[in-house]
Subunit: 127 residues, 2 copies
């Protein structure tokens, strides 16, 4: 495998067990975890972060997000940004497992992006 | 809505049109886009990045990743890290649309994470 890209095969996204991609792929800008809570299961603690902002993205199922005492319903396709100092916890609904991504990156670390960081290059795919 | 979290509802993840979450949620550590290529459709250019590492995560469908001339098959649950200077392009397979996330973060920007950045706090959810 070339050094300029690295691939992992996680399997069907609705049924991946907890997987942490930073170590698996040697990510250097963020940690991305795939998480699964079984029906009715909650994370066993409330946590916050020192430096990192988190983005949660629900891939399948339903559940609830506890955010400093507010309870927010979660369903497929919900994306929730959580600032570092916010206490947070999740649980799956009684009827279905909850599968979600958690993307963790240092708050304020992103400079240019997409059209200000990407460069179209003169390479051709043949497609 | 509180200021310590922000939510967006994208809808079923296999059929979200291109959506950029940085502006929608005011993300400060990464850009996360949800992308969809119709069957047989390819991105119309090859691009690289100046500063940002990208992680592509396939949510549904099949396709191919072109990476500096190498062609890598893609299917649901494939996660591919791409270093900034790598020329990249994607296309969906002929039979199915390709839905994928692209997570963009500054290479080398992540310091502590998870157990070294997260802090368990003495708040109770009542769950």
């Amino acid at each position: 495998m070339a050094q300029n890209w690295t691939k992992a095969d996680l399997g069907p996204v609705g049924s991946v067990p907890r997987t942490e991609l930073k170590e698996k792929l040697n990510l250097s800008g963020c940690e991305v975890s795939v998480n699964r809570l079984e029906p009715g299961q909650a994370l066993p603690f409330v946590h916050k972060h020192r430096l990192n902002e988190e983005l949660y993205l629900v891939l399948a199922g339903q559940g609830e997000f506890w955010l400093d005492g507010e309870v927010v319903p979660l369903g497929e396709g919900d994306a929730v940004k959580v600032l570092p100092e916010t206490g947070r916890c999740l649980r799956a609904g009684a009827e279905a497992a909850l599968t979600y991504l958690c993307i963790q990156a240092a708050a304020g670390s992103l400079g240019p992006y997409t059209r200000t960081d990407g460069v179209i290059v003169d390479q051709r795919t043949g497609w």
